[in-house]
Symmetry: D2
Subunit: 363 residues, 4 copies
């Protein structure tokens, strides 16, 4: 179930065909899920292109809203403005292992005798799934990383899967969520897609399309957490031609979507956004690289689209997840349990808003 | 009129006595307003303490969400973590002049033969009021700066006054708004206060406490602007003892309050936050400075409070402003014109939410 | 007198024809000098192009090594990566006034009825000349700014002139210095030029081409300052096509040149670098902007060239300056007073190095 | 052999007893070296204190001069200003594995049932040793990390050892180098120590105490590399009580020492500095933390000391290293091979400088 099934449409721009990050041509996503009596964790991998990305780097940027996190690879993205590996997501204490596995994968697949991979900047992000996972076991291994890569496809699963298997969002079961938008710039159509790994927020803060539903549900379920622990990772891709400076401005607007779901960017929530454009491959061999970048006067529509894809991705990450019982018998409900309520609220509100509209018209 | 008069309470923490930044002891605010057939502009000054701030610097920090702005003084705040002058606000093309006037004021009042002021870092922020002001005239002079300083008081005016005389917020008349919160940390009470100069946003984006009222009103008034031009300045003060690193984390959460009023941090909107703590005066003469800082484990409540004061300050900046006709006969309505509607919506929503609460309870 | 006159050649790349920043085609520099019994100060202006720069913005970037300074305009350069006004340099307490004057100048000259200047980001840098100037008088006025602009030319004066009239460098008379380099990238020739306003350093630290001459001279002249007060501003221009990200990497290497003259980037020394490229004018009106940027694999030669131009500019700023007696009878010697010594050292060293070369060859 | 053995004293402050980072009380360093026909690599670990650092975090900061590197853990240091693990150094393609091993080590040794380690920010730095190491083998394993930790001691080895086994500095064999300084602030003595992992620079650029010896030797040995590949990691510790803001300012001056050895901070050289203070342990449990920080007016002496320790550490890293033949028969000489030359130059220069001193005196 996703947010549109509840009669709620986030924002103004149309979604792509799958309403996923993979609506951006060339992008695929794979998961490996670990689920047993002590563990709920895994790996999710975003493959930015079908090409050898190490030799055909993509323009990239990032933004750190709250650095209480362990994401790896951002220093070089900041300096060089390029992405040269898939992006992997996993749990906090396995981020090093996945970094190592991604390195091995790249060497095995893309290193040649003439062009060995002697330096590499894997990008690995993490959320802390210790509420549902015995995280100290560091249970992810190389195999899970390779399996996630080899299973990558456009029409990937969302919800409680891969790196999202053990995450918790606004006190509900969180996980992987995705969404996309199609926008037109000067008559030409482009796609913007986001994938989130959601693990942040306190239940009373949850806001759906302006409706502060979280405070009511948290009362009922006797929600007691007082701090926002966890994190959120927000990956945005697009086929719009953009400089790394522009991409930084754009991924900063991920935070707008995040806040619109109710987050206060809590102390313990490592909130990080990464973006890349598939429009241009950087050729390090030629003396001059030619770029066609969108003018700054066209950027605002992209800001809005990223806010929309992020907001919807977060809501989808909860709605695609089933309730989970995990390690130490911690139980986290799916937001779907409350779908009837949300649907009804949405319809009541629509009626109220129509009345409002009439009133205002008469002013 | 302010947002509470409409039956809407932003957030969970209680406001201070005045519900202004000046609830933080020692802080006063002064305005000079220029209003004539061609000009709607002015100066607003925040005096952080009654002491000689140049010799008793306060710990300070800042955050730039969108640097499409001309605020002055942030480089040194970033490096040294201290504030050494009042903070002045004015229009975009007068920021240099006000910087110069603030320098003169500090020399006249605080320079002595033994301790001359040979270097000084005035902090001057700006919004672009050219929709209501013939800004190219650069009409602010030294006199307005000095008058604003000498008129500073705790119970200062809000709305269309001082630097806010010609600003526009979500297509309504914007200006100066303020709000405060009282929080308790380990049993001890502290105050957090914010003052904003609001000049940002498109009308369809306006959201009041989750209600997307802007899109309805913009339809009615035939609002046509497609880009978010302008800026917002958000100044937060507190008597909580904090390091500059902690203050940076805190003022970053101003953006949460901003987004909760509907902003997408548009391309042309220079959005900047500055914070300072009155708890500790930095003594540059002694070898060692002793500081008592709040532990990071207590910081989340402050994040939430700043989001609340910022959100409420922005709403107040509009509600305290009257409709204005300015330069070139541009007309901007006060949001108050729609106060009955907002009040009714708030009450309908409260009823709906009560029904919701019953429903959820029955799940 | 400049450093080459002393038989010392900084670095490996050839200088341009004038060995000034104005070797980059289109750049001119103007000064206004204020020199009387109480004042030694002024204004220096760099005009980046003969075109209307507000409507033909240039790609730009900046780097702050030590933010204990008051330079204005960097926030917007950081966000948008463009320069839209001339760059002005002046004393610390006049930076606001010069900002205002530059605003007026741009309005007077480039604002039209159809295309008014309603927002503007003047870039104004400063050094603290209070050792030779009664700085609290804030003696610079609009006239000096306009005069500096109208007197701009390629073959501008260096040394104790304009904004450099009252500055002090390594305890000697400092001021304006400039230098350029011609480099070839893939057979095509480009120019890199730097202009500095030098006001930093303690005399014992002065190092000329590796020779630590400062400690000897400071002994003789009984130099007593124990702290590095002042600042240095380093402006670099080039006709190489570069992104703002690349320009940031390049101007960061200004610090290399600075350190090679002996600086430790002292506490009180606000050290700031700004760079711009004249290769591309940004057209905000078109949907797409096409850029030809140098590939990163060609950037290292530019790093080295900027280090060279900065190092030589600093040395020239001292050697072009005459000894000055200023306010309160402070006396600062010209480094030229010691030119014979430096020349002799350079020649002794050359002889020693030749001997060394023989020795090493025999190993 | 170290630089003092050659009659060259870097800077003005006295070294500590060992002239190593471990002169700062509590600090120990351990190495594991891997050296065989195909590999020259390893692990070096800095243990910041004998206490459980996870529960007694230290104030910390970092500075990235060139982000073309893969160092892990800086995002959280930047946000929270604390260090909570040992700092590990290794080769570029093993940084993930070492991150994972450091995580396991911390869990094994410091996690308890009551206080499990559910989140952790290991700090792992790297240099690219592929000129002497078949780096694609990713040959470091958990064992090497644990062995390095358990072998840590104050009087640790320098040179071609641990993470420095396969590194190259200015075309000579590089590796681990260290140095310390004792300074007095208001009569109280403090220690500052640095450890570097050197792997940067082109031979012609090498400068020793102002003497540009590199260009001569590179001529002789027919050095041909045209780019600065590699990296340098510079870790600085002190017992001076400092805020994270102050530590950032201090570690930024590592670059001064680096440049004084001849570096231009080349394109491919990921240059990164990290600092921490052992003076205060951060107690996250208490509501208020009390800190005694050195006043900013005393910071300049620390800037100078860090420049000295960094410069001397780099020189020592080369002088303690033996010549190495590695993978693919690449041969890198020890700088010691040229020690007689350097010694003689230093003595000739001393004689020249004495003559100079006489001359200047007679002016």
């Amino acid at each position: 179930m996703n947010i549109r099934d509840l009669g709620i449409k986030i924002g103004q721009y149309p979604a792509g065909q799958l309403n996923k990050i993979s609506d951006v041509p060339g992008i695929t996503v794979g998961h490996t899920t670990i689920r047993n009596s002590r563990h709920n964790t895994g790996v999710t991998v975003i493959l930015p292109s079908a090409d050898n990305i190490y030799h055909h780097k993509l323009i990239s940027s990032c933004a750190v809203f709250n650095g209480f996190g362990k994401t790896q690879g951002l220093i070089q993205i900041e300096e060089l403005g390029t992405l040269e590996t898939p992006i992997a997501l996993t749990n906090t204490l396995n981020v090093g292992l996945v970094h190592s596995a991604l390195t091995s994968y790249m060497i095995s697949n893309y290193s040649t005798k003439d062009s060995p991979i002697l330096t590499l900047n894997p990008v690995v992000c993490e959320c802390n799934d210790s509420r549902l996972n015995d995280i100290q076991d560091q249970t992810v291994s190389y195999k899970e990383v390779n399996d996630a890569i080899s299973s990558a496809k456009s029409d990937f699963e969302e919800g409680s899967v891969g790196a999202g298997t053990g995450t918790v969002c606004y006190g509900f079961k969180g996980g992987i969520g995705s969404s996309s938008r199609i926008i037109a710039i000067d008559g030409k159509k482009y796609t913007i897609g986001t994938l989130v790994l959601s693990n942040h927020g306190r239940m009373p803060d949850l806001m759906i399309d302006g409706l502060k539903i979280g405070k009511y549900i948290s009362d009922i379920v006797k929600y007691t957490a007082t701090e926002d622990k966890g994190s959120i990772i927000m990956i945005t891709a697009t086929d719009i031609p953009l400089s790394s400076r522009q991409l930084k401005r754009i991924v900063k607007r991920s935070e707008v979507g995040l806040v619109r779901t109710g987050s206060f960017i809590g102390n313990g929530s490592g909130d990080i956004a990464i973006g890349f454009s598939t429009a241009t491959q950087v050729n390090e061999k030629s003396t001059i690289n030619s770029f066609d970048f969108i003018s700054e006067s066209n950027i605002e529509i992209i800001f809005r689209a990223v806010s929309e894809t992020t907001e919807e991705s977060i809501l989808n990450s909860m709605l695609y997840s089933n309730s989970s019982v995990g390690y130490k018998s911690n139980m986290f409900y799916s937001l779907c349990n409350f779908s009837d309520i949300i649907k009804e609220i949405a319809s009541v509100r629509k009626a109220d808003e129509n009345k409002l509209y009439q009133k205002i018209k008469d002013v």
